[in-house]
């Protein structure tokens, strides 16, 4: 995989006002890159800011501070409508809830073609229809489905529609915000296989947001772990699972139930206590060893390096 950066996120902050004086720091100073053609998994518990991160990157929210560089250009400084449209073509989103993210009053054809219409990608009705049918087939549905309404589809099929809609404008980067958590186990595997297949065929880059850690590990090349608006650890998927360093990552990994009764009987849970950290200085995001980043102080970094000698 190339290490060409597709997306650079620098000191991204997203703060929400809560009440008259309160501020919720949903995303608080994120720094990470996403390489071309990779799947970057973002995990964390509800409320840790992972969805907000995805939504801020694609400019559903205006960032409080920081920048998002897409192919070297800052997404958040674009004011010109035309320029913005260009970004929107490159970046698309698949939403979590396939029941709420499709307009119930629109036919499937119009839902999928909405992006085509906005960007003027189809010159006539026949072309529009052809593109829609083509997309439906790509995601494993067929021509007959184009004239139906969303309520006529099952959850898994709806999520396929969401994927077809995202693909319509031929993006290079897709943010998938918990795309499978609303689906049944057997259907989850279908959708994940579809996402992987599309990535191979079209060279897509994914930001995959999820809380199902075993699925994230399966689909991701690199994984970032978020905790209270901050990234606490970032590493290659295998490395993160084999050598978790930050105590929060450890606690998260130790809490995943695995479909293996023997393992479950001997499971030891690891509890995270934020007060156990070294309090002598503000923790920073440091590269403890090549490509493995942890939020830690200098003292902690030395300890992590001792515990996990280089590859």
């Amino acid at each position: 995989m190339s290490k060409e950066k597709l997306l650079e996120i620098n000191n991204l902050k997203q703060h929400f006002k809560a009440g008259r004086k309160g501020v919720i720091k949903a995303v608080d100073g994120l720094n990470f890159d996403i390489y071309k053609g990779e799947t970057f998994g973002l995990v964390g518990e509800s409320g840790c800011g992972k969805s907000t991160t995805g939504r801020t990157i694609i400019r559903l929210y205006d960032a409080t501070d920081g920048e998002v560089l897409f192919n070297g250009e800052d997404v958040h400084s674009v004011k010109d409508k035309k320029e913005l449209k260009r970004f929107n073509r490159e970046m698309q989103m698949i939403f979590q809830d396939p029941y709420a993210s499709l307009n119930p009053r629109m036919k499937v054809e119009d839902i999928i073609a909405e992006g085509l219409d906005v960007h003027g990608l189809a010159s006539n009705d026949q072309e529009r229809k052809d593109i829609v049918v083509n997309l439906l087939e790509t995601v494993g549905l067929n021509e007959d489905h184009a004239n139906r309404y969303p309520h006529e589809f099952s959850g898994g099929q709806r999520q396929r529609l969401g994927i077809a809609r995202a693909l319509a404008v031929d993006p290079s980067f897709i943010i998938a915000d918990e795309p499978i958590s609303a689906l049944d186990v057997s259907i989850q595997a279908q959708v994940v296989n579809l996402l992987k297949k599309l990535q191979n065929e079209k060279g897509l880059t994914y930001l995959f947001i999820a809380h199902d850690l075993s699925m994230v590990k399966y689909i991701s090349d690199r994984i970032g772990v978020m905790y209270f608006g901050k990234m606490v650890e970032l590493a290659d998927a295998d490395d993160l699972y084999e050598n978790p360093m930050h105590p929060y990552t450890k606690s998260l990994l130790s809490a995943i139930p695995l479909p293996d009764p023997d393992y479950e009987r001997s499971r030891r849970r690891f509890n995270y206590d934020p007060s156990d950290h070294d309090q002598s200085e503000e923790p920073e995001f440091r590269e403890v060893r090549p490509d493995h980043w942890v939020l830690c102080t200098t003292k902690e970094m030395e300890k992590y390096q001792q515990d996990h000698p280089g590859k």
Binding site: E45, S46, S154, G155, G156, Q157, D184, V185, S186, I187, Q188, A189, Q190, V192, N193, K196, H211, L213, S214, M215, K217, Y218, D238, Y241, S251, L252, S254, A255, I256, P257, L258, P259, D260, P261, D262, Y263, E264, R267, R269, Y272
Partner: protein
């Protein structure tokens, strides 16, 4: 040991404009004291309807229990009048609902909601009930119980609300606890805590638990025995180790194979093709046959009986018939079967 709960040949149907939806089509199982039975299956497989039927919570009309009996300590719940049933419900049999966001009353203080059952069923005075409510909140791990009792549900987070729901269910020391996806809406760390709380309480009170979930990881964690449901029927039932290490039904293989394991890096997950059948018109023969890679001709014609694999392991698939060809489960499932020897296909027909 005697069975606490015995369900025999349960059929539940819903009458709709389109016709009769056969949601549960002949289910048998039993639960012993202190035992956890997990029921797994996809949405629409009838697992929630089964538990609702146990509690007498099927809205009628349109729903009705067509056939079968539900024996709780030997008494048939399906024949009971509403009044008798409401004496058992919440006292001997309690339920933990799936969604903590909607199963609490938003206009009632949490304390009152916990005390309600105690006052009604155990005829406790308000002050005694309050004492018990305090104990319960501590039991499920809610700090500051005294303060928390006076708060409303919206002041609790999702995990905390689910703990309150569990506290309510446990209030009267139920003999049988029905938990319908109690942790599905929660984060993994909270889920792990809640499961631990439930197990501790079970040990202490010796209650039987029916645990409904579609997460096989959770099943491996909590269950003593597992029943796999598909299209309104139990297709395989057995001890937890039987189901995970020696599964026999192709649907069970599909479920296990579609979950990535943390130490495997296969290129593709084993996905079950298609989607579950329409229960308005249940397919002839084995309901899973149209989605199964292992379906034989007979699967489309005749329904398989429960074949015995071992004393407490049964599966409804023709693959276990003595004349069936020996087949190997998909690779991703075989890797899970570590060590356990593969018995030859074929068992005693029942």
């Amino acid at each position: 040991m005697d069975n606490l709960l015995e369900v025999n040949n349960l059929h539940v149907s819903f009458d709709t404009y389109g016709g009769e939806v056969k949601a549960v089509r002949g289910v048998d199982f039993s639960v012993k004291k202190g035992e956890t039975l997990a029921i797994v299956g996809e949405s629409g497989s009838g697992k929630s309807v089964t538990t609702k039927a146990l509690m007498g919570l099927i809205p009628s009309p349109p729903g009705r229990i067509k056939e079968g009996e539900i024996l709780f300590e030997g008494k048939d719940l399906t024949k009971m009048k509403d009044k008798e049933l409401s004496k058992i419900r919440g006292k001997d049999i309690a339920m933990i609902f799936q969604d903590p966001m909607t199963s609490l009353n938003p206009t009632m203080k949490v304390g009152n909601q916990i005390m309600e059952g105690l006052i009604k069923h155990q005829k406790k005075s308000r002050s005694d009930a309050k004492k018990r409510a305090l104990e319960l909140l501590e039991l499920v791990g809610i700090a500051n119980a005294e303060e928390r009792l006076k708060q409303y549900p919206h002041q609790f987070s999702g995990g905390m609300r689910q703990r309150v729901v569990i506290a309510i269910a446990l209030a009267c020391n139920p003999k049988l606890l029905l938990a319908d996806e109690p942790t599905t809406a929660l984060d993994v760390t909270i889920q792990a805590q809640i499961l631990e709380v439930m197990k501790d309480i079970q040990k202490e009170m010796e209650s039987g638990i029916v645990f409904i979930t579609h997460d096989l990881g959770v099943v491996a964690n909590v269950a003593d025995r597992v029943a796999v449901m598909y299209a309104g029927k139990i297709v395989e039932i057995g001890k937890v180790d039987d189901i995970f290490y020696n599964p026999k039904h192709p649907y069970t293989w599909g479920l296990l194979g579609s979950m990535p394991s943390l130490d495997s890096n296969d290129d593709e997950l084993y996905a079950i093709p298609g989607s579950p059948p329409d229960l308005m018109h249940p397919p002839k023969g084995d309901a899973f046959a149209p989605r199964s890679d292992f379906a034989m001709k007979i699967d489309f014609e005749q329904e398989p009986p429960m074949f015995k694999v071992s004393d407490d392991h049964y599966a409804a698939t023709w693959l276990l018939h003595e004349n069936a060809p020996a087949v190997q489960p998909p690779k991703s499932v075989q890797t899970r079967m570590k060590g356990t020897t593969q018995e030859s296909a074929g068992g005693d027909g029942v």
